[in-house]
C-alpha cells in the first residue's frame, strides 16, 4: 500500500461518520423470545449475532456463542433475556468512525449496535459493514482520479491524429453580466482544460489570472455580458474577451493602474481596484484593447509558450 493510500484510509476514518458505514436494516431479537427461535432467526438471516430489544429499549446482545452455550446446557426453550450479554457496547450514529475502530479492532467487539442521541437503535456496525463502506469510498476516489487521468490523456493527445499544417483548438465561453455568483466559472473551466491539455504550469497560471481578470471585467462593466474565446495552438495561446456593452470612453485612462469605474458594491467584494488590465498586461506577452463608446469592447491577449516549452501534447514536431 502506498503512502497516499494510507492517507486516504486515514482521512476516510476521520471524516466518515458511523451512520454512513452502518447497516440500517437491523435484525433484532425480542427479550421474551426463546433461544431456539433466536437461533432459527439468525440462521435464516445468516448472521452470527443480534441486538435484543425489550419493547423498544436496547436490552442486550446475543451471539451464536451464547446459543451454543444454551444448547450445551439444554436451555433452548429459555427466553433470550436469560442468556444475552446485558452490558452492550454501542456507538453513536454521529460519532466519527475513528472512535469505533478501537472497539472493533483492539477490543475485539464483533458488532456494535448504533444508537441516536435519544438511545434508539438505528443500525448496526460490524467489521464487514465498515470495510465494505470504506472500500466503496476508496473505489469512488480511485475512479475519480482514473477519470481525470483518462481525460488528461485524451485531451493532451487531441492534436496528434489531425493532419494539417497547423491545428488550433478554440474554446468558447459565455459570460453573463452582473452574475457575480457565477463569475469566474469560465476561468475555472479554462484552467482545468489547459491542465488536461498538459500545458506547462507557469503558462496555465499566467493565462488563468489574465482570463479571470478579463471575465470579472465582463461581469462588472458590461450590461449584456460577453464571450471569452481561447485559441490554443502548439506554440501559443490567444484569448479574446468580447462584449457588446457600453464601450470605453478613454482607452488611455483605463490602462492606468488604479483607474476604476467599478461601483461601490464591487469594491466591497475586493474587486474593481483598477489593477485588472495592468495585471493582464503583466501576465501576457501581448495585450490589445479595442473599444469605442457604444461599440462594445474587444480585448486580445497573447501568450507565447517560448522555444524551450513543448506545446500541446508535448510531442508536436516543430517545423524547421
Amino acid at each position: 500500500m502506498t503512502t497516499q493510500e494510507i492517507t486516504k484510509v486515514q482521512e476516510l476514518i476521520y471524516t466518515t461518520r458511523v451512520e454512513q458505514v452502518m447497516a440500517s436494516n437491523v435484525v433484532v431479537l425480542q427479550a421474551s423470545m426463546s433461544v431456539a427461535d433466536a437461533k432459527a432467526l439468525m440462521q435464516t438471516k445468516r448472521i452470527s449475532g443480534a441486538p435484543v430489544l425489550d419493547g423498544s429499549r436496547l436490552a442486550g446482545i446475543v451471539t451464536m456463542t451464547d446459543v451454543i452455550r444454551a444448547m450445551e446446557m439444554g436451555k433452548l426453550d429459555a427466553p433470550v433475556s436469560e442468556l444475552m450479554t446485558t452490558s452492550v457496547r454501542t456507538a453513536f450514529k454521529d460519532a466519527s468512525v475513528v472512535e469505533v475502530v478501537n472497539s472493533l479492532g483492539r477490543e475485539g467487539f464483533a458488532r456494535l449496535p448504533v444508537v441516536d442521541r435519544e438511545g434508539n437503535l438505528v443500525g448496526i456496525l460490524t467489521t464487514g459493514t465498515l470495510i465494505r463502506s470504506l472500500l466503496h469510498e476508496m473505489d469512488i476516489s480511485f475512479q475519480k482520479k482514473e477519470t481525470e487521468k483518462i481525460q488528461t490523456y485524451r485531451a493532451s493527445h487531441i492534436f496528434q491524429d489531425i493532419l494539417s499544417d497547423d491545428t488550433s483548438l478554440v474554446l468558447r465561453y459565455i459570460v453573463d453580466d452582473k452574475d457575480f455568483a457565477n463569475a469566474g466559472k469560465a476561468s475555472s473551466m479554462i484552467k482545468r482544460s489547459l491542465q488536461r491539455l498538459q500545458i506547462p504550469a507557469p503558462i496555465v497560471r499566467r493565462v488563468s489570472v489574465a482570463v479571470y481578470e478579463a471575465e470579472m471585467n465582463l461581469v462588472i462593466h458590461t450590461d449584456v455580458g460577453g464571450e471569452i474565446m481561447v485559441d490554443i495552438r502548439r506554440d501559443r495561446l490567444a484569448v479574446s474577451a468580447v462584449d457588446h456593452g457600453p464601450g470605453i470612453e478613454n482607452l488611455e485612462q483605463v490602462l492606468q493602474p488604479g483607474y476604476s469605474t467599478a461601483p461601490e458594491w464591487i469594491r466591497d467584494m475586493g474587486f474593481g481596484a483598477g489593477m485588472g488590465l495592468a495585471n493582464i498586461k503583466r501576465c501576457s506577452d501581448m495585450m490589445k484593447l479595442l473599444s469605442e463608446p457604444g461599440g462594445g469592447t474587444r480585448l486580445d491577449i497573447l501568450f507565447l509558450f517560448g522555444d524551450n516549452v513543448p506545446g500541446v501534447g508535448g510531442k508536436g514536431e516543430k517545423k524547421s
Partner: protein, 123 residues
C-alpha cells in the same frame, strides 16, 4: 511550515478540509483586494483575508492557492464552502486579526515573497 503547524500557530478551526496536514506551506500572503492576490499571489502560498464571498475561492484557485485563512473568526457563506470543496481547497478560520495572524505566522518562520514591484515582469 506544515499545514498542521500553521493551524496550531493560528489556533485555527478547519472549515473545509482538502489538504493533508503534513503538506508544506512555502510562504504566506494577506489581502482584502483580490487584484492584489492575482498580482502578487504565488503558487502554494496560504492566503489570509477578511473577505468571505465565493470569489475569494475563485481568485485563489486562479492564483494557484489552495489554503485560505479567514481572520477575525469570520464564517463564510455556504456557497464559499461548497466552492472550496469543489476546487479542492482547505479553508481555515482564526480568531486573530489580519495583523496578528500574519505576525504570528511570520514570527514562527513562515516567509512572505519579499519586495515586489508592479513594473517588473517576473512571474
Amino acid at each position: 511550515m506544515t499545514l498542521s503547524e500553521l493551524i496550531d500557530v493560528l489556533s485555527g478551526k478547519v472549515l473545509v478540509e482538502n489538504i493533508g496536514g503534513d503538506e508544506e506551506i512555502p510562504r504566506g500572503g494577506a489581502a482584502d483586494l483580490m487584484s492584489d492576490v492575482l498580482a502578487f499571489g504565488t503558487e502554494g502560498m496560504v492566503l489570509m483575508t477578511g473577505l468571505t464571498n465565493p470569489q475569494v475561492v475563485r481568485t485563489a484557485e486562479m492564483a494557484g492557492i489552495n489554503v485560505i485563512v479567514f481572520v477575525r473568526d469570520k464564517t463564510p457563506p455556504q456557497e464559499t464552502l461548497e466552492m472550496a470543496g469543489d476546487a479542492g481547497m482547505t479553508l481555515i478560520s482564526t480568531g486573530y486579526t489580519m495583523y496578528e495572524a500574519c505576525g504570528r505566522l511570520y514570527a514562527a518562520g513562515l516567509p512572505g515573497r519579499g519586495p515586489v514591484k508592479i513594473e517588473n515582469d517576473s512571474w
